[in-house]
Amino acid sequence: MSLLAISDLKVSIGGKEILRGVDLDLRAGRVHGLAGESGSGKTMTGLAVLGLLPHGARTSGRIALGERDLLAMPAKELNTVRGGEVAMVFQDPATSLHPMLSVGRQLTEHMRHHLGLDKKQARARALELLGQVRIPGPEGAIDRYPHQFSGGMRQRIAIAIALACSPKVLIADEPTTALDVTVQAGVLRLLRGLCDDLGLAVLLVTHDLGVMSAVADEVSVMKEGLVVETGPRGQVLRDPTHPYTRALLESLPGETS
């Protein structure tokens, strides 16, 4: 069943067309990889879903979350979807967590806002979440600040924050790009596991085809604001039909599995 359906999404900023009609379909329990070079519009697609595009961006098309169109939604209602039903993990956890707010604060504030939990309930849920993303010693971690954690730990915390209100859709924008290679695998495995366990629909934005081949179920390839190829991972990565996909694959060092 399709949870989030993007159809004919067009975005222009200052008269420049960034997205030229993107179609994507996210399903529960599936990781949908979105690949493409820088500037192809991958990140913009992710931001458009949550209405986080830069000021002055004009959009058309439809982003359907169930029956509702996120693009046509009033700002106030969209704010209940953000963090509630659709959550996002950003590229660099060093900058996407507020350096002066404790982990517990950043984990609980939107829970209290969206779910109406009191302090105690939110804290209990936060501890549970930290355990779920495999932060050692959640009791001690919750009162610490982002700078006291390593990069991989920070991204796990960011994922815990995204999961806090039990969203149905998770948009992960290059979640491993800023991490050490040794740490990347752990974070990817975590994402995959959460997707399977919680039945999340994940949109994994990445330029890294290696990452893609490791976790994605479906793969879409973007170029210049258009999706040029979509299909199951095996088919797209092994037997690409579009010349651009082939070029991307050939640019990899060695062979992809």
């Binding site: 963090g83 900058t95 996407s96 050692p136 010693g137 954690f149 740490v183």
Partner: protein
């Protein structure tokens, strides 16, 4: 998923820190203790600097204080020098001075023939009241204007505030003080004249030395009204420069923070705009703002000398001017000490605020 799958990035954190919550409180106290200790050392430095600078002044306090006939009599001169400890070598004089300072004795003013401490006890609160009111006004107005300008970037409000803050920064304080006095007191007669309260009233019983607070504490509301009325014009005049400065700095600080990833992440969490502004944006922006506010307080203190002169405000500025022109060395040293001390306290406050606002400062 096996628990060892991500052991690489689990290790880094646990190895570095002890678990448990006990570590969260004591670092702040350690941080505070370190700052206070530094401040104390600097205070000793200030006494040394004021002492040396004052004694370097090419002027002889003897000739400034004794009459012509007394100056002709070497015995009287020697006696006067001995009385004031001027016959001892400088290092010893400094130690005597330091000993006095520790005991709260700043010597006797050669001009007023009263202990410098008593003179300062009268003039310092007056200046603190004026400068404190000015910095309060500039913080509230400057930060509010700056935030509004940033949120309304490139719109009419932003442009208007830009013009206003530029005016505030460029208009000389003494000219503004004269104009305010002339227009509001002499022409329009909407503000009371010079001094700290109406001359027919007697000052409230001294607790803090700040008339506004003391009169409120004593419940003398007519005196309170008069004190506030007298305070508001010079404080506004003094504040205008800092308001302009803080507006500009707050605007750019807020704009910079608004572009940060964590603000976008906060939006992605669906937090209401006001929570994002106060919890996420202002907290970060406060760090550069308090830095500038601390520096601005310094410029504000030097501005008081002129404003005090024009509004006949009996503060440190007037006292410093008088004692400097009469080579009243104990008084000059006393003023130097007080002004240095105020800077020290302001810097200490700014440092402590950094630690309170930013956990990265206190949890090194």
């Amino acid at each position: 998923m096996s628990p060892t799958s991500s052991s690489e990035d689990l290790k880094g954190d646990t190895a570095r820190r002890k678990p448990g919550r006990s570590g969260s409180r004591s670092p702040l106290i350690r941080f505070l203790a370190r700052r206070v200790l530094t401040a104390l050392l600097l205070a000793v430095g200030i006494t040394l600097v004021t002492f040396v600078l004052t004694n370097l002044v090419p002027g002889d306090p003897v000739s400034a204080n004794l009459g012509q006939r007394a100056l002709g009599d070497p015995a009287i001169v020697a006696q006067w020098r001995a009385e004031h400890g001027l016959d001892k070598p400088l290092p010893q004089q400094y130690l005597m001075h330091l000993q006095g300072v520790v005991q709260g004795d700043l010597g006797t003013s050669q001009q007023s023939h009263r202990p410098v401490m008593d003179d300062l006890a009268e003039s310092v609160p007056a200046t603190l009241e004026l400068a404190g009111a000015a910095i309060l006004i500039s913080l509230v107005a400057g930060v509010a204007f700056g935030v509004v300008a940033a949120l309304r970037r490139d719109r009419l409000t932003d442009h208007l505030l830009r013009v206003l803050s530029l005016i505030g920064i460029s208009v000389p304080t003494f000219w503004l003080a004269l104009m305010a006095f002339y227009v509001f007191f002499y022409r329009l007669q909407v503000t009371p004249g010079s001094g700290r309260i109406d001359p027919t009233m007697s000052p409230p019983p001294q607790v803090t030395g700040l008339y506004t607070i003391d009169s409120a504490l004593a419940g003398q509301w007519d005196v309170f009204a008069s004190a506030v009325g007298h305070l508001i014009t010079p404080a506004l005049v003094l504040a205008l420069y800092t308001i302009g400065l803080l507006t500009r700095f707050t605007r750019s600080a807020v704009l910079e923070v608004l572009g940060q990833d964590y603000v976008r992440a906060a939006r992605a969490k669906g937090l209401p705009g006001r929570v994002i502004l106060f919890r996420y944006v202002l907290r970060s922006a406060l760090v550069p703002i308090i830095t500038v506010a601390g520096l601005a307080f310094g410029s504000l203190l030097s501005g008081t000398v002129l404003v005090e002169a024009i509004f006949a405000w009996p503060g440190v500025g007037q006292y410093a001017y008088k004692s400097a022109t009469t080579l009243d060395l104990p008084a000059v040293m006393g003023v130097g000490l007080v002004v240095g001390g105020v800077y020290l306290v302001i810097n200490l406050i700014v440092d402590v605020l950094y630690g309170v606002i930013d956990p990265r400062v206190r949890l090194q």
